[in-house]
C-alpha cells in the first residue's frame, strides 16, 4: 500500500524539488547581480580608467610632481578666496544603490565665501542652461577649497601633479590625490589661467568613481557676477571662535561639551578629523553639530537629546553596517540623512562622502545594544527588583 502511494507521489515530489532548485538558483543569481559581484565583472565606473589604479609605491615628498601638486593646490585655495566668478556646478554621486545629481548656482566675490543656491530657484524652474534643475537647500558644491581642507588633504593624502588637461573648455592642470596605500582618492582639474578648481572626481578604494563635480558654466570677473544673492542667515554658533586660526575646538572646549553631556569624538573612521563644532537652540532642546573632514569629504554629525520615533514621514528603515537606522527617502548613502538614537541622544549624520566612509562613521558612533530578548528581560527584572528596593 505504501509502495503504491510512493509511486503515485514520486512524480509530484520530483517536480516540487526541481521547482525549488530552480528558485534557489534564481535567487542566487539575483543576489550576485544585485551585489555586482558577478565573476569577471569589473566595476562599471572603473572601466576605461586604467590610470586610476592604485600604485605599489608613492613618490617621495620632495619629488617634483608632489611639490608641484601641492603648489597647484595652494594656488587653488588662494584663487577660491580671491577670484570673482559666477557659474553653475553639477554634482553627481554614484553608489551601488544608484546615482543622483544636482545643479548649483554659485557666486563668489573676493574675500567672501562661495554662495550657492539650488538651480531650481530660478523663475522658470530650470537651470540657467535650460537643464531641469535639482533643488534643495542642502545641496553642497564640492569644488571650493579652503586652507583648512588643504591642510587636511596634506595630512591624509599625497598630492601629485598628473599632467595637463581641459575642463569646461578651459585648459587645466590635473592634480591627483592619493591615499598612502597608493590608491587614487580624487583628481582635481585646476584652471590654468586662474587656479580655480574646475572639476573634481572622487574614487573609493576599489577604484570606482563615487562622485563628480564640475563647472558646466563658469564666468570669471566682477562684471560677470550680476546680482549676487544675499547670504542665508545662520542660527548656529561655533564653539570655537570664528576668528581663530582653526575652528577646531580645543581640549578645554571639548571637555566642556563632554561635561554638558555631548560626546564629540576628535576623530572618526576614514581619517575624518573634527574640524568644528557648532550649536543652536531649538524648542525641543539644544542641538550640537560636529563637523568632520578628511580634506575631501565633509560629514556633519548632529546630536540632540531625545529618542527617535520608530517611524518618521519621509524616512525609511535602513541597515548600515549592521545597524538599523532611519534614512531619508531614496538617494544614495553618500548623501542621505541617517538618524538613530542611542543613550538618550538622537544622532543625525549628513555627509558628502563615499558610502563606505559614511557606513564606517555610522558604525563608530554610539548605538544602543539593548535590542535583544535577554537584555529586555534583564531590564524588566531590574525594574521589578527596584520595586522591592526601599532606597530606589
Amino acid at each position: 500500500m505504501l509502495w503504491l502511494y510512493w509511486r503515485r507521489a514520486r512524480a509530484v515530489i520530483g517536480a516540487v524539488a526541481a521547482a525549488m532548485g530552480a528558485l534557489a538558483a534564481l535567487a542566487l543569481l539575483a543576489s550576485f547581480l544585485a551585489d555586482g559581484k558577478r565573476p569577471g565583472a569589473a566595476p562599471p565606473a572603473a572601466l576605461g580608467r586604467g590610470s586610476t589604479a592604485g600604485r605599489s609605491s608613492l613618490p617621495a615628498p620632495n619629488d617634483p610632481v608632489v611639490q608641484r601638486g601641492m603648489l597647484l593646490m595652494a594656488e587653488a585655495v588662494a584663487a577660491c578666496r580671491s577670484v570673482p566668478y559666477r557659474g553653475v556646478q553639477i554634482v553627481a554621486w554614484t553608489s551601488p544603490e544608484g546615482s543622483s545629481s544636482y545643479l548649483l548656482d554659485v557666486w563668489h566675490r573676493p574675500g567672501g565665501p562661495e554662495l550657492a543656491r539650488d538651480d531650481d530657484d530660478s523663475d522658470d524652474g530650470t537651470g540657467s542652461l535650460g537643464i531641469p534643475a535639482s533643488g534643495g537647500g542642502g545641496t553642497v558644491g564640492v569644488l571650493s577649497l579652503s586652507a583648512g581642507m588643504l591642510d587636511l588633504l596634506r595630512v591624509n593624502y599625497v598630492l601629485e601633479y598628473e599632467g595637463a588637461g581641459t575642463s569646461s573648455n578651459r585648459s587645466a592642470s590635473i592634480v591627483a590625490v592619493r591615499r598612502h596605500d597608493g590608491t587614487l582618492a580624487a583628481q582635481f582639474w585646476l584652471d590654468a589661467a586662474t587656479g580655480l578648481p574646475l572639476r573634481r572626481e572622487m574614487f573609493d578604494r576599489s577604484g570606482r568613481r563615487v562622485s563628480e563635480g564640475a563647472f558646466i558654466d563658469l564666468r570669471i570677473g566682477d562684471q560677470e557676477l550680476g546680482e549676487v544673492p544675499a547670504e542665508a542667515g545662520r542660527a548656529w554658533t561655533a564653539v570655537a571662535p570664528a576668528n581663530s586660526a582653526a575652528s577646531r575646538p580645543n581640549a578645554a572646549q571639548l571637555a566642556s561639551l563632554q561635561t554638558d553631556g555631548w560626546r564629540v569624538p576628535g576623530r572618526l573612521a576614514g581619517n575624518m578629523i573634527l574640524s568644528g563644532v557648532s550649536r543652536t537652540a531649538t524648542p525641543s532642546g539644544p542641538v550640537v553639530d560636529a563637523r568632520y573632514s578628511d580634506g575631501l569629504s565633509v560629514a556633519s554629525v548632529f546630536m540632540q537629546r531625545g529618542v527617535l520615533p520608530r517611524t518618521l514621514p519621509g524616512w525609511h528603515q535602513a541597515d548600515v553596517s549592521g545597524t538599523r537606522v532611519l534614512a531619508t527617502e531614496s538617494g544614495s548613502l553618500s548623501e542621505q540623512g541617517l538618524a538613530w538614537s542611542a543613550h538618550g541622544i538622537v544622532y543625525t549624520v549628513i555627509a558628502d562622502a563615499p558610502p563606505d566612509a559614511v557606513a564606517a562613521i555610522v558604525a563608530q558612533l554610539p548605538h544602543d545594544s539593548h535590542n535583544g530578548f535577554w537584555s529586555r528581560v534583564g531590564r524588566g527584572l531590574s525594574r521589578m527588583a527596584s520595586w522591592f528596593d526601599p532606597f530606589s
Binding site: A92, S101, E231, T280, L312, G314
Partner: protein
C-alpha cells in the same frame, strides 16, 4: 464525673487482668455514677461494633484490598518518618506515603515552573524601553541640518533675492529657530523649509519623494553626469580631457 477514669474504658474493652477487673467491678457495684458510665460505654461499643459489621461490604472491601496490594511496596526505611513500632509490616502506609511524596514534588516543580514563566513574561513586558527617565521624541530637522551642513562644507547658502542691502557689518545675531522647521533667518536670506534636492535626471524613472535630498537611479545618466566621456552627449557634461603623466 467518674471515679475510675481510663480504668473504666479498659474494663469495657476487656483489657484488664483478673485482679484489676475484680477491683474495678467492686467499685462499680457500690458507685452508681461509675456503673451508669460503664453501661453507657458498653452500649456505645456495641453500636459501633454493629456499624462496622453493616458497612463491611465484602465486595468493596476486597476491591480496596486488591487496589492497595497492586501498588509497589515501599521499603519502610525510605519513609520520611520512622515506622511505628508495634505495627506489623506497614506496607499500605508506606505506599500511601510514597504517593503523597511524589504528588508533592510534582506540585512543587509545576509551581516553580509556572512562577518562573510568569516572572519571565512580566519581566519581558516591563523591559520594553529604557529604564532611564523618559526623554522627548525628536524628529530631526533635516532641512536646517542640510543648510548647516552646507556651512560645514565651506559654502554659504544663498537666498533668491539680490544682496543690494547686504552688509555683513549690519548683521545682527540671528534669532531664528532652526530645528523644528521654524527657520526664521533674515527675510532676504535662505528659503524657509528648503526642500531636498530632486534629481537632474533619474534613470530609474522614479522621482525623489518629498523629504529626500536626492533621488536614486541605477547609474548616472550622460546628461546628469559630468563625465568626460559623456561630454558630447549632452550639454551638462563639460568637455574634459586629461593627459595623465605616464
Amino acid at each position: 464525673m467518674t471515679h475510675l477514669g481510663r480504668w473504666l474504658s479498659a474494663l469495657v474493652d476487656g483489657e484488664l487482668d483478673a485482679v484489676e477487673r475484680d477491683r474495678v467491678l467492686n467499685h462499680i457495684a457500690g458507685c452508681d455514677s461509675c456503673r451508669k458510665e460503664a453501661n453507657a460505654m458498653r452500649a456505645l461499643k456495641r453500636r459501633l461494633t454493629a456499624l462496622g459489621d453493616e458497612s463491611g461490604e465484602p465486595a468493596i472491601a476486597s476491591r480496596l484490598i486488591e487496589l492497595a496490594r497492586s501498588e509497589e511496596p515501599v521499603p519502610v526505611g525510605a519513609l520520611p518518618w520512622p515506622a511505628p513500632t508495634g505495627i506489623a509490616p506497614a506496607r499500605r502506609t508506606a505506599d500511601w506515603g510514597s504517593g503523597v511524596l511524589a504528588r508533592t514534588w510534582r506540585l512543587a516543580a509545576a509551581s516553580a515552573g509556572a512562577s518562573l514563566i510568569t516572572i519571565g513574561v512580566l519581566a519581558f513586558m516591563l523591559g520594553n524601553g529604557e529604564t532611564r527617565p523618559p526623554v522627548p521624541k525628536i524628529t530631526p530637522s533635516v532641512d536646517s541640518y542640510l543648510m548647516q551642513h552646507a556651512f560645514d562644507a565651506g559654502q554659504h547658502p544663498a537666498g533668491s533675492t539680490p544682496a543690494a542691502s547686504y552688509s555683513p557689518a549690519t548683521l545682527g545675531p540671528v534669532q531664528g529657530v532652526v530645528a523644528g522647521h521654524a527657520w526664521s533667518g533674515r527675510p532676504a536670506s535662505g528659503k524657509p523649509g528648503h526642500g531636498i534636492a530632486r534629481p537632474v535626471q533619474n534613470t530609474s524613472g522614479t522621482a525623489a519623494k518629498p523629504g529626500s535630498r536626492t533621488a536614486a537611479g541605477p547609474a548616472a545618466s550622460p546628461q546628469a553626469s559630468p563625465s568626460p566621456s559623456s561630454s558630447a552627449d549632452g550639454p551638462a557634461g563639460p568637455p574634459v580631457t586629461g593627459r595623465h603623466r605616464g
